[in-house]
Symmetry: C3
Subunit: 358 residues, 3 copies
């Protein structure tokens, strides 16, 4: 049901400060994520192998964690290295550990076959580590399957109706603009859309001086499997020739959104909305952060309502319209990759993995 | 499980003022009900055929509704008549529409085969439109199957125990009175019961001058399939010959209760309790309204407790007593009608209906 | 799934004062428990045989209960003895009654075959009726299977980690002490554990004069099927020879805990923690009561978290460590007894029992 052999975002690094033992369900597996004292992230099955007590209720000791029920201690690889009151520890005793890596302030986790986990395959988003780009990293929880969020992001026309007074700016956007390109990629899709000579949408108007001057707006969205979305947004003075590459006076944004399934009906949503023009005026990134939350809450209301419709009638037949080309392609790619994964490898034996850790 | 080819109450007209898009689940189907600008009620499947977003989160435009996710617009027959950014609309694209009719301030809906929907078959309750009869129309939500409410209304003996201090007046009512008639009708039942020479029950005493004088009380209840109850109540001076038709000094009430299944374990309950003697003193209908709510809450506590018993043990075997003649007959009629409906017609293909709307 | 032919605690006697009709689900059966006016406890199926209304919403009349829906009255054996408005009552009409007995301020109930219910088999705990032992009887509700509580009580090492600052006193307890004896009994187990020359744990220090003096501590735990735990605790001056029987200056406690399954994932937990040294100073038993609640809440957090782990993954494989000898034995005994019960007798026909009561 989920694509397993790929990297998902498990947490922002700032969620793990001060040794926090974070309990987070990912792909319906209970996971403990924490930063070891050495600075390396650790991810373990969040259930003590003894009686199932959550290790997140335990205590960090170095890069290890101790279950605070009967005191069993596990190292970063999940191996049990101490049982109070017992001298011999079975060599294979332990909990499953997951490959993890820290990149661009994000903790990435690999839920599939550990032998296939290659940190080099983690998708890069350099803006997250570039001091020229400022933003407020944040997290939202969705009561909806992550693909409903992917759907949402695949058609900008929803800006017109869902976000008229926040991120969109006008209903006209849906009628007068179309994607100039929908590129179907083996790993997702890329969509580009221009809106020429329009009023700046409210979220943008709030952070610029001339709130009346018309703009040419370009959105380039790039969706990657399993559910990672990058959005480049450009606002240039209307008629200044932005479409021909003349970007003088333009303002740009970089936005990343990482959707990680918690369960088949809930999602962890990590995001940041970055700008490169605020200088020392942090009110700009804070204004953008607030505007985006306002807009995301509009999405959330609709998407969670969709989820309830599907909960009540899992067979509800959706009908594709022309604008669904990107999302249809994405779902097809994903299904294909999941099917390959299930054929190409023997199903992952959790027990075996658990035993292997020693 | 439900009788489908019949009219149910979907809403009071006052629930739809100011263009409200009312989301209401009826017979486990999600329905959007609204009053078109033309004044005609409209009922549609409350799920946009595109991505399932609730149309009740959309916008009324004339007698149409626009989904505020991607902007698809549907007319009162459910046909999709606009897709922003797309020129051609498939002729059959649309959502299911339900036959509706406005009668006596009630919006009626037909959940079965639209071809069989005849507004002339809607049961009439003239007191709801007669200016001589005053009352406060109201709605309650029950966490219980509607038949448990039908059961409740079919035996007035419960007045003695559930409503001793509100609608009933004394436990004696259960011991000393019996139905003078239980008529089994093809479409329900009619029960008549007298209680002679007793103190007026609290709800009635509150709205009359002489709160001590004994009364002769007559209740005539009339239950109709699928779950519509009419109650005529008469209080006459004790010994004045009311049973022989001498009604001088009598006070009368007319009460209607419409039970519409929301799901198999929840119910929409519409009601009004009317009197014809208040003149300009609206405190009387408001007092009766408050008393009835007090009494209905007593029923609700018991009936919802029954529902929990059945949730925990769906096979709990109920044992009939003599007083259950009316409810037993009603349930038998209903089962027979449901069975006929399922045999006599090919099962309604929702998909087909959805496609047909264009 | 549950052991049925045994006595469970249904309530403390003080829960039933003033004629309270207590609704309590036991072994997934809805039970009404009350004290008849004669002083005898009564336990009946909490569903009127007529329409399933809870009898706990009814009214006590002598040793009988009247359903306050339509007024049916049931005696202490469950037999229906009155139906208002109906002269003849079918001889077998009634609700199931359960054998009950009052012992040591506890109401005991037998959920299995009534023919096997022998009050002489009720386990005695004389401290509960001995005026020399003082304590505050109490109740807690657990969102966890009762066996997880049994597990918890079977290994005192958890005192070190779960209760370091309340009932335990130090993590050392888990490392330096071991059970001197784990006795496997046909009906449960007995465990004895000493901790010599240690600081008094916080809960004990609070109620003694010399809070610094080291103590020798002995715990003797005794677990009985189906889930009844007795704990004898001794604190003697360190080095005073307590292990050799010299108990001068010692303080002792007696603690009983009764786990009764509500459902397979929830538990009724009855307990008392008694001391024999408070004299007229009731602040001591109240301090102990408060300390125990503090400690139990630590257990509850962990045990309910375990239950959630098992809810999410009922096949989660627990791995036994050396300290699990007692719990492993207990679960084996219990399974064996349940298996015997199911083979040795025809399954209890609830319907038949219900009909039999007359």
């Amino acid at each position: 049901m989920f694509l397993k052999n790929c990297w998902y975002v498990a947490a922002w690094d700032h969620e793990l400060i001060d040794g926090r033992l974070l309990a987070r369900t990912i792909l319906e597996e209970p996971v403990l994520v924490f930063m070891g004292e050495s600075g390396q992230p650790v991810a373990l099955d969040n259930r003590c192998c003894h009686r199932g007590a959550p290790l997140s209720m335990g205590r960090r000791e170095g890069d290890c964690v101790r279950c605070m029920y009967h005191g069993l201690k596990f190292d970063a690889a999940g191996k049990c290295i101490q049982i109070p009151g017992q001298d011999k520890i079975p060599a294979k005793l332990g909990v499953r550990s997951y490959p993890v890596a820290l990149r661009n302030h994000l903790v990435w986790i690999w839920m599939g076959d550990p032998a296939l986990a290659d940190p080099a395959a983690i998708i890069d988003y350099p803006y997250l580590r570039d001091p020229a780009w400022k933003g407020v990293p944040d997290y939202m929880h969705y009561d909806a399957n992550y693909l409903l969020i992917v759907d949402n992001l695949s058609d900008f026309a929803h800006l017109a109706f869902v976000h008229t007074n926040t991120l969109g700016g006008s209903e006209e956007y849906a009628y007068t603009t179309k994607p100039v390109a929908v590129e179907r990629l083996p790993n997702g899709f890329r969509v580009e859309r221009w809106h020429l000579d329009s009023a700046p949408p409210p979220f943008h108007a709030k952070v610029i001086r001339d709130k009346q001057a018309a703009v040419d707006r370009r959105n380039i969205g790039h969706m990657h499997l399993p559910g990672i979305f990058f959005l480049e947004t450009l606002f240039a003075p209307a008629g200044g020739g932005a479409r021909e590459g003349k970007l003088e006076g333009a303002r740009q944004y970089r936005n990343c959104q990482f959707m990680t399934p918690e369960t088949r009906r809930t999602t962890h949503f990590f995001w940041n909305y970055l700008n490169d023009f605020e200088g020392d005026d942090s009110t700009i990134s804070r204004s953008l952060h607030a505007s985006l939350i306002e807009g995301f809450m509009e999405d959330k209301a609709l998407i969670e309502a969709q989820q309830k419709v599907l909960d009540d009638d899992p067979d509800f037949p959706m009908v594709a319209v022309t604008a669904d080309a990107a999302l249809t392609h994405f779902r097809r790619m994903l299904e294909q990759r999941i099917a390959e994964e299930q054929v190409g490898q023997t199903p992952l034996d959790t027990q075996a993995v658990r035993r292997q850790v020693a």
